[in-house]
């Protein structure tokens, strides 16, 4: 069991013992690089990809086939097509999201970038090409909105999901730009927006206004997806095309705004969120300085607070969208990394929390991976 931690200043690996009681921290890798995402290939359980950039150098991908002992830079990182003479083209600022493709497509990976772009590698992350037509499509470009009008860290394409039953069935989400689905391996994509809300007084028919923060598919029921949005928590059960706002059942004082959402590996009724303060100027801290994870065990009809072991007050951090995950052990362990550089583990599905690393840089991503 290893936790892959991407931070604003590098990457760390935490190796756990069999009981997940002690953790050996190893790193930093790429000290000073912003590691937006660090992912292990579940098909060989040895290949690591790291999405990296710095404040001044351009973005790249690093690849390791020996669990980080050595790294090699991608020969061709994600990059947009060169724009025709006389027009202004986009440049990838950073790769934000990495998703290994289907088991039937060994060595294939997808990447989402800022500004919004979708890329695919078929050689284990060494070379990347624009995937599908959406990066240059006028309709999709309008839904992405202007780059300079995006979020302060740059508008992002994220939550790339491959249906475990069918490698041609894909989803992705954009902040901003909505949720989209392909059933033909990316030849075509269509918005999947019905039921999703936008901020008050704006038109939900305008896809540019939609800001899904994180979408997860349930491995135990791939027809069910959960979504943490700028405007609430949602669930959809395919083939329905309508998202249901299940966050309305969250306590009013806490609300249903957040970045991250994770799902149970074996129970599609169970999902966890980490709410943040979305009032007034959007502090995006733990509401009231009292951090807590909330769990639903019935698809969103009820939510329960899980805060045993977490600070009771004056803790003003939050958890970014890739910085929360669950392992696949019998007693599922939850993990999240904070903007203040702490890594927390929630034993027994979040019943008891303990801090397993602190004093790291701001944490951007946490993945739990099982080694061979």
């Amino acid at each position: 069991m290893v936790l892959l931690v991407g931070t604003r200043k590098g990457a760390w690996l935490l190796h756990g013992d069999a009981a997940r009681k002690t953790w050996r921290i190893e790193g930093p890798h790429f000290l000073g690089h912003i590691i937006h995402h660090l992912a292990l290939d579940p098909r060989d359980r040895r290949t690591l990809l790291a999405a990296a950039s710095t404040g001044h150098l351009g973005p790249t991908i690093f690849r390791s086939t020996n669990l980080g002992k050595t790294w090699k830079e991608a020969a061709q990182p994600p990059a947009f097509a060169k724009a025709p003479e006389g027009t202004t083209g986009r440049a990838v600022n950073h790769t934000f999201w990495l998703t290994p493709s289907h088991d039937k497509e060994p060595n294939a990976w997808y990447a989402g970038t800022s500004p919004q772009g979708l890329f695919r590698s078929e050689d284990g992350g060494d070379t990347w090409q624009p995937f599908s037509y959406i990066n240059e499509d006028p309709q999709y470009r309008s839904w992405m909105g202007p780059e300079e009008g995006g979020t302060p860290d740059g508008p992002k394409l994220h939550s790339i999901i491959v249906d475990p039953r069918d490698p041609a069935h894909l989803y992705f989400a954009m902040s901003s730009g909505g949720v989209h689905e392909s059933v033909d391996g990316g030849k075509t994509f269509a918005p999947l927006m019905k039921g999703m809300e936008v901020i008050a007084d704006f038109d939900p028919a305008n896809i540019d206004f939609h800001d899904p923060h994180c979408v997860r598919l349930c491995p135990s029921n791939p027809d069910r997806l959960y979504q943490q949005n700028h405007c609430g928590i949602y669930r959809i059960d395919r083939p329905s095309d309508t998202w249901v706002r299940i966050g309305r059942r969250m306590p009013k004082k806490v609300g249903d705004v957040g970045f991250s959402i994770i799902v149970h590996p074996r129970d599609a009724d169970t999902a966890w969120v980490f709410p943040m303060d979305g009032t007034m100027v959007w502090p995006r801290t733990s509401p009231g300085g009292k951090p807590a994870v909330y769990v639903t065990r019935n698809g969103g009809r009820r939510w329960e607070r899980l805060d045993v072991g977490l600070p009771a007050s004056q803790a003003w951090w939050t958890v970014k969208r890739q910085a929360m995950c669950a392992d696949r052990q019998k007693a599922v362990g939850l993990y999240f990394g904070t903007t203040s550089g702490e890594l927390w583990m929630g034993r027994d599905e979040g019943k008891r929390w303990s801090c397993i690393a602190r004093h790291l840089p701001e944490i951007y991503a946490v993945e739990a991976a099982e080694l061979k």
Partner: protein, 85 residues
């Protein structure tokens, strides 16, 4: 010609000063990328624009165009502009 490399690019060059050839800044960067694969994309984007926080100097004067003509005895410097924490 002599090219002075700033520390963020030492992962590629291992040293602070290298030799490269070309009649323009763009050609010099292409030659650097041939010698040190991946270096060019870290400083020039896919639209052939200088990345926002990279600065290029020739004989101590900042230049802003990749097509800037160079002589074989020019000294080129690649510098990054750091800010924040």
């Amino acid at each position: 010609m002599k090219v002075l490399i700033s520390s963020p690019l030492y992962d590629y060059t291992k040293v602070s000063e290298v030799e490269a050839h070309g009649a323009t800044l763009s050609e010099v960067l292409t030659d650097l990328d041939r010698q040190f694969p991946g270096l060019r994309f870290r400083v020039i984007d896919e639209q052939d624009r200088m990345r926002p926080h990279m600065r290029f100097f020739v004989n101590g004067e900042q230049v802003f165009e990749l097509r800037h003509a160079l002589q074989s005895n020019d000294a080129v410097q690649l510098v990054q502009a750091l800010s924040g924490g």
